[in-house]
C-alpha cells in the first residue's frame, strides 16, 4: 500500500519536473517548426504575412521615406490626379497623398495595434479568471461582455467617443474597450476547454497554487486561440478606428490618418475621386492582409474550424 503511494509520489514529482518544465518547452519547439512548415503551404496567407510585415515596417520608417512632407503645400498641383511627380495625386491644398498615407501609417496602425494589445491583455485576464474560477467572477465578466456586445460593432466605440469627446487618444480607448469583450469570451471558453484536461487536474491534485496553474498550465494551452483572435481583431480595430476618424470623431482633420483623409476627400468626390479611392484602398489592403493572415493562422493551428 505505502509502496504504491511512494511510486505514485515518484510519478507525480517526475510529472511536475519533466512534463511541465521540460517537455512542454521541447514540444513547443517542435511545434513551432511544424507550424512554420504547415503555414508555408498556404500561399495567400504567406503573401498576406509579407504585406503585413511591409506595412508594419512602413509604420516604423514610412514618415522618413515619404517623398514629401505630409503637410507641404504645392499650390501648383491642387487636386491633381496621380502623376509621375505625385504618384497618388494631391489633395485640395496640393499635399502629396502618398506622403500623407506613409506619414499616417504609424497613426492608423499604431492606434489599432496598441488598442488591440491593451484590449487583448485585459480581455485575456478577465477570460482566464472567469473560466478558471467560475462563480460570481464569471457571471460578472460574462454579463459585462453581454452588455458591451449589445452595443454592436462600432456602436460601442462611437458611444465611448461620445462620452469622452473626439480625439485620437479617445479613439484608442474606445477601440480597446471594444476589443475586450471578444477576448474575454474566447479566452473563457478556451480556459474551460483546457481546464478539463488531465494535466491540469493532475497539477491541481498535486496542490499547485491557483496562480501557477493559471499561468503555467492553463495559459499556454489557450495561446492558440489568443494568437488567432489577436490577428483577426487587428483588422477590425483598423476598420473601427478609421471609421471613427471618417465620422470626424477621431484624429484631427489636419492629421494624415487614413480614415480622416477619406472624410476630407468626400467633398471632392466629383472632381478628385483619387482622394477617396487611394487612402481607402490602403485601408482595404491593410485589413485584408491581417484577415488573410489570421485565416491562415487559424487553419494551420486548428484545422477543425474551417
Amino acid at each position: 500500500m505505502s509502496n504504491t503511494q511512494n511510486e505514485q509520489a515518484k510519478i507525480n514529482t517526475s510529472f511536475e519536473e519533466n512534463y511541465i518544465d521540460e517537455n512542454i518547452k521541447v514540444s513547443t519547439d517542435g511545434k513551432v517548426k511544424a507550424f512554420v512548415k504547415k503555414f508555408a503551404k498556404r500561399k495567400t496567407a504567406v503573401v498576406a504575412f509579407f504585406v503585413m510585415v511591409a506595412l508594419l515596417i512602413l509604420a516604423l520608417v514610412g514618415p522618413s521615406l515619404a517623398p514629401y512632407e505630409a503637410n507641404a503645400f504645392d499650390y501648383d498641383n491642387i487636386l491633381s490626379g496621380p502623376s509621375a511627380k505625385h504618384w497618388f495625386g494631391t489633395d485640395q491644398f496640393g499635399r502629396d497623398i502618398l506622403s500623407r498615407i506613409m506619414a499616417g501609417a504609424p497613426l492608423t496602425l499604431g492606434v489599432a495595434l496598441s488598442s488591440v494589445i491593451v484590449g487583448a491583455a485585459i480581455g485575456t485576464v478577465l477570460g482566464l479568471l472567469s473560466g478558471y474560477y467560475g462563480g460570481w467572477i464569471e457571471m460578472l465578466v460574462m454579463r459585462g461582455a453581454d452588455v458591451l456586445f449589445s452595443f454592436p460593432d462600432i456602436l460601442l466605440a462611437i458611444a465611448i467617443v461620445a462620452a469622452l469627446g473626439p480625439g485620437i487618444i479617445n479613439v484608442f480607448i474606445a477601440v480597446a474597450v471594444f476589443t475586450v469583450p471578444s477576448f474575454a469570451r474566447i479566452m473563457r471558453s478556451a480556459t474551460l476547454a483546457v481546464k478539463g484536461c488531465l494535466y491540469v487536474e493532475v497539477a491541481r491534485s498535486l496542490g499547485c497554487k491557483d496562480g501557477r496553474i493559471l499561468f503555467k498550465h492553463i495559459f499556454p494551452g489557450t495561446i492558440q486561440s489568443l494568437i488567432v483572435n489577436f490577428t483577426m481583431r487587428i483588422g477590425s480595430a483598423i476598420m473601427a478606428a478609421s471609421s471613427l476618424s471618417f465620422l470626424g470623431f477621431g484624429a484631427n482633420v489636419a492629421d494624415p490618418e487614413w480614415g480622416a483623409m477619406l472624410s476630407l476627400g468626400r467633398s471632392y468626390l466629383s472632381t478628385a475621386p483619387h482622394m477617396v479611392y487611394l487612402p481607402g484602398l490602403v485601408i482595404f489592403v491593410t485589413v485584408l492582409a491581417f484577415n488573410l493572415f489570421g485565416d491562415g493562422l487559424r487553419d494551420t493551428l486548428d484545422p477543425k474550424i474551417k
Partner: protein
Amino acid sequence: MGRYVARRLLETIPLMIIISIVVFMFIHLIPGDPAKTLAGVEASLEEVEALREELGLKDPLIVQYFNWVKNALSGDLGRSFKSNLPVTELIWSRFQFTIRLVFAGLVWAPFAGIFIGVMCAIKRGTWVDLGGMLFAICGLSAPGFWLGLMGIQFFSVKLGWLPSGGLESWKHLILPSMVMGTGIMATLARYSRSSMLETLREDYVRTARAKGQREQIVMFRHAFMNSLIQVVTILGLQIGGLLSGSVLTETIFSIPGMGRLLTDSIAYRDYPTIQGILLIFALQYVLINLIVDVLYGVINPKIRYD
C-alpha cells in the same frame, strides 16, 4: 418549446436592466460635473444650478436612476438640447429611415451570403470555392464608407444612374443597401461554407446517398437544411452589425436616420439624445437576438421537442 421561449425571455430581463444602468450612467461617465456638461460651456452659474435642480441631479444616484427608468418606460427620454424637442419624438421621426436601411440590407445580403457559402462548400477546392472565399474576405475587409463613396462616384457622378443621397425612392436605396449588406454577406458566406462542410461530413448525408437519393436533394434537403440551423444562430449578431453600419451609411448618403441623429448629437454634445439613441439601439439588438433565438428553437427539432 414554450419553456425554452420563457427561459430565453427571462434571461433577457437582467440584461435589459444592466443596459439601462449603463446607458443611465453614460452622462455620469463624462468627465466633469454632469450639470455643467449638460448646461453647455456658455451657461452661467445660475443656469447650471437651475438645470441641476430641474434634472434632479441633487438626488442620490439610485433615486435618479429609478426616476429615469420610470420616465423612460412612459416614453419620456428627456428633451434634446439642440432642438428642445422630446427625444422620443426625435428618435421616432428618424426611426423609419434606419429601419428601411436595415431591411434594404437584409433583403439580399443573407441570401447571397448563404448561397455563396453553400456553393463554395459543394464545390470545395475548385476555383468556385477559391473565388467565392476571396470575394467574401474582400467584402469583410473593405471599409463600408469606402465602398459607399466609390459607389457614389461611379454610379451617381460618372454614370448618373443612381442618386447620391437621400431616401425618396427605391432607387435611393440601392447604393446604401449595397454598403449595408456587404459585411453581412461576407460573414455569412464564410460561416455557411464551414457549416455546410461540417454537415457534408455527417453520417446522415451518407445515409441519404445510400438510399439512392438524387445528389441535388441530398445537398438541399439533408445537408443544407441542417447547416442552416447553425447559420441562423449568428444571424442575430450580424443584424447588430447592420444597426451600427447604419451610422456610417446614413452619414455617407445623407439619410436622416437614427445613426445620423447620433453623429449630429455627438457633434453638438446633445447628451439626452445620445443617451436615448444608445438605449434604443441596444434594446433593438437584444430584441433581435431574442427573436433569432426563438427562430432557432422553431427550426431545430431538438429544442422544439424538449
